[in-house]
């Protein structure tokens, strides 16, 4: 049988994604299933020179009886042979160390009569925990199905799996778990009580069968795992350790990323300079050297920090620690009206609010889900990192606390904690306003601790960094062009008139100052200068000047655009012989009205606080609209977040001023 379509099915935490990554490498893409907002991951694998197989990675599920959109997708696809992705073979990935729970899904899939391969994954973990599985007996119990052992961390067993797929043979038709109940339940998926009864019957049988196929012995590894858990999920020590880990992450982000960031900065600056010197002078060269290159450089410079942030996130996930974080955070979040299931979306929000809001689909109660959607964007996402980094470098002194801890890293951690605390408090307010008293419980499987898998870490960092560069890069390039044009041209002769008002220097040594004043006068009277001066009165109470105002507007498309916009605006104004960096230029910026620096501790903190709370993300609004199916909630979210941002920034400015 020559197969061309394979589906991967498995419980969450069964290592299914690692298997998918190892089978497809980078030949994969993510899409959506039609009609529902569930990710569809498809990849390709070459079995022989003329034999390619498409692999669909279906959402992780514990059972084929659906409880959420994700789980519904699995049964909709497997129950419909006319579906374009209907597989010829299903690889059911199970966690060998937790066979009892995982076999439930396998028996259900097997009873759908689609040819299957049972992949016993995480065999190393099972071995460490003293679990021995008799592959042969397991195969015989299901009419001689293909059973294969995999270790996705070491990459073993995959060649055998490919051989099986290349020369696939179906097993005998023998269905020991199929009963009249199963048929009745499958024909009516809207009867939960019948599903529970049928599931219990399956579990009873599975336990009986496991006596023959599985041997368990108590091991040191299991004992160690329990001992570690006693500390990591301790009601007090658990939180202290979590805070300590976050603290170390932000300290490391600051200290490790510094060297590559300086390198990237110098590369972009030299490129700009080189282009200006070697290309024929003219507006196109100016656009490239003053607009596009500095704008892009303002974003690429943050790739080391973004990569480090995702490195830590993926390591925490891979080791199994993130599940412990979810567990301890559940207790913390309950008093604020957040559902236990809200923990995963909120923690995912540290990476990006968009997939985090999509992850709320697992929350059954609508009001609980809505509250989670409304507060998730308050969690500091990775797009805020460039903004925080720039502002911290600008206004926070480079000092060590207790001669070890970098103050900048502490402030960065403080901003993330502020986001989390505000999310909890706002959730409490929404709980009161929406009058929700629905009770729900977080039921989750605590995966065993394991060493992170290097390839998974690498894939995630590459994927996230490239999305950051390419997706944000395209928008930043467009905005840099728009900003450069608006900053280089002005209405009528106003720019020329402003330049003529600048006094010529008496002394040749003052030539640099003169050129700087000319550039400032031109920028201030450009289209963007006029627009900036219109909005300036609204933001002046927060300590911002018109250039910050323009960047606030452009960064509504995405927060990280703030940095690119500032880089473009300051580049247009800069004397090109001046080799100072963006931070140095911003630091020397003087407010003409007061004669004082624009970027002080007060205005810097005010701006950071503004970005903690402001809904500066067009894409998040689009996702909230899609998930709530109404413009009412994105509107409410924008209004409350912007009001909160403005008032908090005003308060911060007045406290620190």
């Amino acid at each position: 049988m020559k197969i061309s379509k394979v589906a991967l099915v498995g419980n969450p935490n069964s290592g299914k994604t690692s298997v998918f990554n190892l089978l497809t490498g980078l030949n994969q893409h993510v899409g959506n299933y039609p009609g529902v907002t569930v990710d569809k991951k498809v990849g390709h694998m070459t079995l022989a020179t003329d034999h390619k197989v498409s692999i669909t990675d279906l959402p992780g599920t514990y059972s084929i009886y659906p409880r959420s959109d994700d789980e519904q997708v699995v049964i909709d696809l497997l129950n419909n042979p006319d579906h374009p992705d209907y597989p010829e073979v299903i690889i059911v990935v199970v966690d060998s160390a937790n066979l009892e729970h995982n076999l439930l899904l396998f028996t259900q899939i097997y009873d759908l009569r689609i040819p299957v391969i049972l992949a016993l994954n995480m065999s190393d973990v099972a071995q460490r925990r003293g679990v021995e599985i008799d592959k042969l007996k397991l195969s015989e119990m299901f009419g001689g199905i293909n059973v294969i052992q995999l270790n996705s961390r070491k990459g073993t067993g995959f060649d055998d799996l490919k051989k099986l797929l290349l020369d696939f043979k179906t097993s005998d038709s023998f269905y020991p778990f199929y009963s009249e109940n199963s048929e009745a339940v499958l024909s009516n998926l809207d009867d939960p009580s019948a599903q529970i009864l049928e599931t219990e019957q399956r579990f009873k049988k599975i336990r009986k069968y496991l006596n023959f196929i599985e041997k368990k012995s108590y091991t040191a590894s299991k004992s160690l795992s329990r001992k570690v858990d006693k500390v990591l999920i301790h009601p007090i020590a658990g939180y202290i350790i979590f805070l300590g880990i976050l603290f170390s992450i932000f300290q490391t982000i600051y200290s490790v990323a510094e060297v590559p960031m300086e390198l990237i900065d110098s590369v972009f600056f030299s490129s700009s300079h080189w282009l200006k010197e070697h290309l024929p002078s003219g507006v196109l060269t100016n656009l490239l050297a003053e607009g596009i290159i500095p704008g892009l450089g303002g974003v690429v410079i943050f790739v080391p920090q973004i990569a480090l942030l995702f490195l830590f996130i993926v390591v925490l996930e891979e080791t199994g620690y993130m599940s412990r974080v979810v567990f301890i955070m559940d207790k913390l979040m309950r008093p604020f009206g957040l559902n236990g299931k809200s923990v995963v979306p909120l923690i995912s929000g540290v990476a990006c609010a968009i997939p985090a809001i999509m992850a709320t689909r697992t929350i059954h109660h609508w009001k609980d889900r809505l509250i989670t959607i409304m507060v998730t964007p308050l969690m500091s996402c990775s797009a805020r990192l460039p903004v925080y980094t720039l502002l911290i470098a600008l206004v926070i002194p480079d000092v060590l606390i207790l001669e070890i801890f970098n103050l900048k890293g502490i402030v960065l951690l403080g901003l993330y904690v502020l986001g989390l605390v505000s999310a909890l408090l706002v959730a409490g307010v929404f709980k009161f306003l929406l009058k929700t008293d629905e009770k729900s419980y977080l039921v989750m499987e605590m995966p065993g601790y394991k060493l992170p898998y290097f390839k998974n870490i690498l894939y995630t960092i590459l994927e996230k960094s490239s999305i950051f560069v390419w997706q944000a890069g395209k928008i930043i390039m467009a905005i840099s062009i728009i900003l450069w044009v608006l900053a280089s041209y002005g209405p009528g002769n106003k720019m020329e008139e402003a330049v003529s008002r600048v006094e010529l220097p008496n002394n040749p040594t003052d030539q640099d100052d003169y050129e700087s004043e000319v550039n400032s006068a031109r920028l201030s009277n450009s289209w963007i200068g006029h627009l900036g001066h219109v909005i300036e009165p609204g933001i002046a109470p927060l300590g911002y000047d018109w250039k910050i105002g323009i960047s606030l507007i452009t960064s509504f498309a995405a927060r990280e655009i703030f940095v690119g916009s500032m880089a473009t605006i300051y580049s247009v104004e800069q004397d090109f012989n001046d080799g100072s960096s963006l931070i140095e230029r911003m630091r020397s910026e003087i407010n003409p009205a007061t004669g004082l620096p624009v970027y002080t501790l007060a205005s810097g903190i005010s701006l950071m606080v503004f970005y903690v709370f402001a809904m500066q993300c067009m894409s998040t609004l689009a996702i909230v609209y899609r998930e709530t199916k109404s413009w009412k909630w994105p509107f409410i979210q924008t209004v409350y977040m912007t009001t909160l941002a403005y008032l908090s920034a005003l308060l911060a400015y007045n406290i620190f001023n």
């Binding site: 893409h29 993510v30 899409g31 959506n32 990710d39 569809k40 498809v42 003219g282 507006v283 196109l284 656009l287 990006c352 968009i354 997939p355 999509m358 994927e463 999305i467 390419w470 997706q471 395209k474 928008i475 390039m477 467009a478 905005i479 062009i481 728009i482 044009v485 498309a557 995405a558 067009m618 894409s619 609004l621 689009a622 996702i623 609209y625 899609r626």
Partner: protein
């Protein structure tokens, strides 16, 4: 003169790109930002 024309074209293209992105994000039921890596979806849009 040629450079000015080119600048106008580039500026108009950038404005069109941002306008289209905003319009798609605000009117479509699907996400077009690409932050979640939905490349397949965007390929489907191109095809249709």
């Amino acid at each position: 003169m040629l450079q000015t024309v080119l600048i106008v074209i580039i500026f108009a293209s950038a404005c069109y790109y941002m306008g289209r992105l905003a319009y798609r994000n605000l009117t479509s039921k699907d996400c077009h930002c690409g932050s979640c890596g939905d490349t397949a979806l965007r390929e489907d849009i191109k095809k249709t």
